[in-house]
């Protein structure tokens, strides 16, 4: 398949089951809601070493938030429910509770309930109080700038992590420009995050390593500097840079949509802007049960 001069490889991206949740952070203004959200989703690019994958889903208007203030919706994904709950709790406690004027609310009503403010309340040292409003419990924790308001729980749902595609370009600036264009469009899709810095990862990995202690290592087949030295390169001579966009989402369909708009944005730039191919992290079925066939998505 070729779109606007860009070859879409006949391959699929592999993704794996995760547990996901969403939280809504509000503050006095969007600036401070964003600061808290960025702190909470920091150091959360990959479950390989971060414990979770997290990102900002979108900015919310005051009309969309529970307390009528500007807000930011964030999503966190982890390999298991326990890990997710732990990450949510520690990140909420260290990054949102501490952030001036912030409040924290559930972003998913259904699913398995996991603690949001339920355990943070103990920071109140006995002065915390709760309010049940419209059937939901909120904790009011006294802090130095007033009160930190946090909904007791949020919902944990089954999710999908690791959807991805690779952008193969003639140069590094062209690969990055294409990824930026893709991320711009993908951010408009609900229920997904792109957890890597700016949504883009330049160090895509393969499963396994020559070193026994590592379970992932550089994806040498897509490293342009190894074209002549690795056993099986996947790059043609004119490809000088490869970047990857990884997507976590609540459902396979959400990731499908995000991949489609992202790849379309890349194709819109086309061969004229140095984009040669779109491929995917295919690990021969070793990584996960969810397969995203690139050509089917773009059909």
């Amino acid at each position: 398949m070729i779109i606007n001069g860009v070859t879409i490889d006949a391959t699929f991206a592999e993704a794996f089951p995760m547990k996901g949740t969403r939280a809504i952070i509000t503050a006095q203004n969007e600036k401070w809601a964003m600061i808290a959200a960025q702190a909470m989703t920091g150091f959360a690019t990959s479950v390989i070493a971060c414990g979770c994958e997290a990102g900002i889903e979108r900015v919310l208007t005051p009309e969309e938030t529970p307390d009528g203030r500007p807000g930011v919706s964030i999503m966190i994904f982890a390999m298991g429910g326990k890990g997710l709950a732990k990450q949510l709790e520690t990140r909420s406690g260290q990054c949102v509770l501490t952030s001036p004027t912030s409040a924290l609310f559930a972003g998913i009503d259904g699913g398995i309930r996991i603690p949001l403010g339920k355990n943070l309340r103990y920071f109140g040292d006995g002065f915390q109080t709760s309010k049940v409003i419209s059937g939901k419990r909120y904790w009011r924790i006294p802090v130095m700038d007033g009160e930190f308001l946090a909904e007791a729980t949020t919902g944990q749902v089954d999710a999908v992590g690791g959807g991805n595609f690779l952008v193969l370009a003639q140069s590094q600036p062209q690969a990055l420009a294409a990824c930026e264009a893709a991320i711009e469009e993908m951010k408009k899709i609900p229920n997904v995050i792109m957890p890597f810095p700016g949504g883009v990862v330049r160090s895509g990995s393969k499963v396994g390593s020559k070193y026994k202690t590592l379970n992932a290592s550089t994806n040498d087949a897509f490293c342009p500097t190894l074209k002549g030295s690795t056993k099986k390169t996947d790059l043609s001579p004119n490809i000088e840079s490869v970047m990857e966009i990884v997507i976590d989402g609540l459902t396979k369909e959400d990731i499908d949509k995000a991949m489609r708009v992202g790849m379309q944005a890349v194709c819109d730039l086309g061969a004229a802007n140095g984009i040669e191919r779109i491929s995917a992290g295919n690990y021969g079925g070793k990584l996960g049960p969810f397969h995203f066939h690139l050509q089917e998505i773009m059909a």
Partner: protein
């Protein structure tokens, strides 16, 4: 299907226990069976059709017409459905209510909504003493739901209130929120003496400055984030509380009752 309507034929001298006439107990009964239900009236047991003329079929929507202040236990432990009452009601209206709606066009006697668990009790007139309270000797009053009073309320509003919300558009009597365990009472009008007496936790939200006892401590003036959400939750009520213009988040906070554990609060609009 038209509402099942009980129209009181004449006012009996003795009080009447209306507790059998609730939606969940009447569900599936034929009109003839409903007419044969016996109601305790003083020492006597009277058939429903001896006291009321009956019309309509919808047991999930009951209307009581010509009601007066000796009809007790209306809507006792109501579990779904609606009861509309045209007139006043006696004591214990909505006691132990579990869900559904009771709407009273007139006034209520004592213990309206006492120990109710869920649902909505709307009183368009005045409410008697111990609104949403606990029965004598019991430790927990209302445990959930909403009570809305458009008029005034008597003494001991929310005595032993455990959870839930009591909204009063008019005035509240003495000992409002006494022995509260938790929950919320909002009063737009004035409040009487000894407000929050021995309250442990919970919130008394007031539009007018109360006469506070010495066991409430001034915590200063604050902007509280939960208040807009609380007001937003009233948006669907047929009440002044639903009016967005009356919402506020700036309050003067008083903590108490310090003679108890002191985790309660009285919030007064600034």
């Amino acid at each position: 299907m038209s509402a099942l309507t009980f129209k009181l034929k004449s006012r009996p001298d003795q009080r009447v226990d209306m507790s059998p006439l609730v939606c969940h107990l009447l569900a599936g009964l034929e009109p003839i069976q409903i007419a044969a239900i016996e109601l305790q009236c003083g020492k006597q047991k009277l058939r429903v059709d001896a006291l009321f003329s009956i019309s309509g079929f919808d047991t999930q929507k009951i209307v009581i017409k010509n009601s007066f202040s000796k009809l007790d236990y209306i809507g006792k432990e109501l579990s779904g459905g609606e009861i509309h009452i045209e007139g006043d009601v006696g004591a214990y209206c909505g006691i132990g209510m579990q869900s559904g709606l009771i709407k009273i066009l007139g006034n209520t006697g004592i213990y309206a909504g006492c120990e109710m668990k869920k649902g909505q009790l709307e009183i368009l007139g005045d409410a008697g003493d111990f609104l949403g309270g606990a029965l004598p000797g019991n430790k927990n009053g209302m445990k959930g739901g909403i009570i809305l009073v458009k008029g005034n309320a008597g003494d001991r509003v929310g005595d032993h209130l455990r959870r839930g919300t009591i909204l009063i558009e008019g005035n509240a009597g003495d000992y409002c929120g006494s022995r509260m365990i938790a929950g919320t009472i909002a009063v737009m009008g004035n409040t009487g003496k000894h407000i929050g007496y021995a309250m442990r936790r919970g919130t008394l939200l007031l539009w007018n400055k109360p006469n506070l006892s010495a066991s409430f401590n001034d915590c200063g003036q604050h902007t509280l984030a939960f208040l807009p959400m609380l007001f937003k939750s009233f948006a669907n009520l047929n009440s002044s509380f639903a009016n967005n213009a009356i919402a506020f988040n700036r309050v003067h906070r008083f903590a108490g009752d310090m003679s108890e554990i002191g985790r309660g609060e009285i919030l007064v609009k600034i």
